[in-house]
């Protein structure tokens, strides 16, 4: 197996704050934007909430939400941070009733792979497979396989115009350069919270397909 490379402590400290700032500020803003109240319909309110949450997460020590989120969940995956950042960004830019256009099929396919991959990693955490799958995430082969998989959605026509198609490649680039968040590529593309979120994405898509 190729030797692992783990992130430097300084990089991990920075990512703990930046990663959770994207997740908390982006995620909460995206949820608020979907609530149909007069208060949350105002973009200025959403921007203020997002800024406040981001500042709170960037504070040092126990005053920061990142300190407590890190205690419980360590750092988020690159994909989760980028997903939440993108959702928050969209919420701040789009007005009510302008739902983002549908995603390319490849991205939904990646979400399905993420759901299955999460189950594999969860079972692996409880030693239910004959091989230790998590350990493969420190090697070069897993990164190569995930890179190929991440680029597949971009093969669809005009897919490169959609930000969602760039989330996983972006997280892998972050991983290759800085080893974030842990030096294990599974942690870079999928964490348990993202896995839970992907269940919702896949179930919603399945429900829509069933209705139509």
């Amino acid at each position: 197996m190729s030797a692992p490379a783990l992130p430097a402590l300084g990089v991990m400290q920075l990512w703990l704050h930046v990663g959770w700032a994207l997740v908390v500020a982006g995620g909460v803003t995206a949820v608020l934007a979907r609530l149909t109240t007069r208060f949350t319909a105002r973009v200025a309110v959403l921007r203020a909430v997002a800024a406040a949450l981001a500042v709170w997460t960037m504070l040092p020590g126990p005053y920061s939400s990142a300190y407590w989120l890190g205690l419980a969940f360590q750092a988020p995956s690159g994909v989760l941070a980028l997903v939440c950042g993108l959702l928050g960004w969209r919420a701040l830019r789009t007005t009510k009733g302008q739902a983002p256009a549908g995603e390319p099929a490849g991205v939904l396919g990646l979400a399905c792979v993420g759901v299955l991959g999460g189950w594999v990693l969860l079972m692996d955490a409880f030693a239910q497979w004959p091989w230790a799958v998590y350990g493969w995430g420190f090697g070069r082969a897993a990164l190569a396989a995930l890179t190929v998989m991440a680029l597949l959605p971009l093969l669809h026509k005009d897919a490169y115009r959609r930000a969602t198609a760039w989330l996983m490649p972006g997280a892998l680039l972050l991983f290759a350069a800085l080893r974030l968040p842990t030096g294990n590529v599974w942690d870079a593309v999928l964490d348990p919270w993202l896995w839970v979120f992907l269940h919702g994405v896949v179930l919603r898509a399945a429900y829509r397909r069933w209705r139509h």
Partner: protein, 376 residues
């Protein structure tokens, strides 16, 4: 396509050179030029370890031999505080002073608030420490640090000596990182037994998972203390706290605590330097769900400190073996009433003697020293 090339090229640039195969450093302990025989060891001294003022609990000692030129022979680390898993628990340390022949006044060297502040995230509780000296002579500590929950929410915090001096009054540590061992929010791995030294100056750190089920894992670190990979020792859900012995540089045996009622000491074997493992039949030694500690003196000279009775931890024995699997009782180290506890042994060799430390009633630590032929 360009992006894929960029990702893989960046990865190749960042990634260190591949470690060679792991080969165990074969122990060859000799006194006055004579290899030490396990059967020749006799107890020459014993006593209690001084505790930091105001502490009611002490547990999980780890012994580390000091360099030959040091004023102290051994460092001893353990967790101590108001109670096990209490918020005030810290990692305490003392050293055996060669000149005075006694343990120095202990002090705390690791505090969860200080370490959490450096890491940027909280550490809820501290637990077992394991000490190791790397290829450059720097001390490392691997400490159980819990997240949101009890011991099942544990992680392994890797600390490295930050002080220029290793003298007890100067000794300080800084975090390297929390070792990445699990996808599930990096829970629930714990460390307990001593590092297993490798020929390249690195080591194998035995750890175990314990959320619901238990299973043992070997974590490899290189001579600088950098993470170099992990291998599952067994998937059997009741084996924990592995301790490793070398039959040869590439043939290793792992002995483990057994969580089952009326358990036995459990075993696994690797024939390829820890690259893969196979389960072995349980040893005929009882195990009351209690930690065991193995130590190699030389080829075919191995020692095991263990609680032999399935009823509890009131008796602590020392046994010897030539292969790590067939054990002969050597002597009883401590025995008390039914409620007594002598547990979590740790062993090290320093100043021509075997040193053994263990927990007494989860409140204090005791130590014993053994020398070949009983000559101190």
């Amino acid at each position: 396509m360009g992006l894929a090339v960029a990702v893989l090229a960046l990865d190749a640039w960042v990634r260190p050179a591949t470690s060679g195969p792991a080969l165990a450093q074969m122990p060859a302990i000799a006194v006055h030029g004579q290899p030490v025989q396990a059967a020749s060891l006799q107890r020459v001294a014993m006593g209690d370890v001084p505790m930091p003022p105001g502490t009611q609990a002490a547990h999980a000692s780890s012994l580390l031999p000091m360099p030959a030129g040091s004023a102290t022979a051994l460092s001893l680390f353990w967790f101590s505080g108001e109670r096990e898993s209490g918020p005030l628990v810290q990692i305490a340390a003392t050293q055996w002073d060669r000149a005075s022949g006694r343990w120095l006044e202990p002090r705390f060297v690791v505090n969860r608030e200080t370490m959490g502040a450096v890491l940027g995230h909280g550490l809820r509780r501290l637990g077992n420490p394991v000490a190791w000296m790397d290829g450059q002579g720097r001390m490392h500590l691997f400490v159980v640090a819990t997240g949101w929950g009890g011991w099942a929410a544990s992680r392994v915090l890797h600390l490295r000596q930050s002080s220029a001096s290793q003298a007890l009054q100067d000794l300080a540590f800084e975090p390297v990182r929390v070792l990445p061992l699990s996808w599930l929010w990096n829970t629930s791995f714990l460390v307990r037994n001593a590092a297993f030294p490798l020929q390249d100056g690195g080591m194998v750190l035995p750890v175990h998972f314990e959320l619901g089920i238990k299973y043992p894992v070997a974590v490899r670190l290189d001579a600088q203390g950098e993470f170099a990979g992990m291998t599952r020792i067994s998937a059997q859900p009741y084996k924990l706290q592995p301790t490793l012995l070398a039959q040869s540089p590439s043939d290793w045996v792992a002995l483990m605590r057994d969580e089952r009622p009326a358990g036995k000491i459990t075993a696994a074997r690797s024939r390829n330097g820890g690259a893969s493992w196979e389960d072995l039949p349980d040893l005929p030694l009882g195990n009351p769900d209690s930690a065991v500690a193995a130590f190699g003196l030389g080829p075919q000279q191995m020692l095991l400190a263990h609680n032999p009775t399935p009823e509890g931890r009131a008796k602590l024995d020392l046994s010897r073996s030539s292969d790590g699997l067939q054990w002969t009782w050597q002597q009883t180290l401590r025995q008390g009433t039914e409620e007594a506890e002598f547990s979590y042994p740790a062993m090290a060799w320093a100043d021509d003697a075997l040193w053994l430390a263990y927990t007494v009633d989860r409140a204090t630590l005791s130590w014993q020293r053994f020398a070949p032929g009983g000559r101190p």
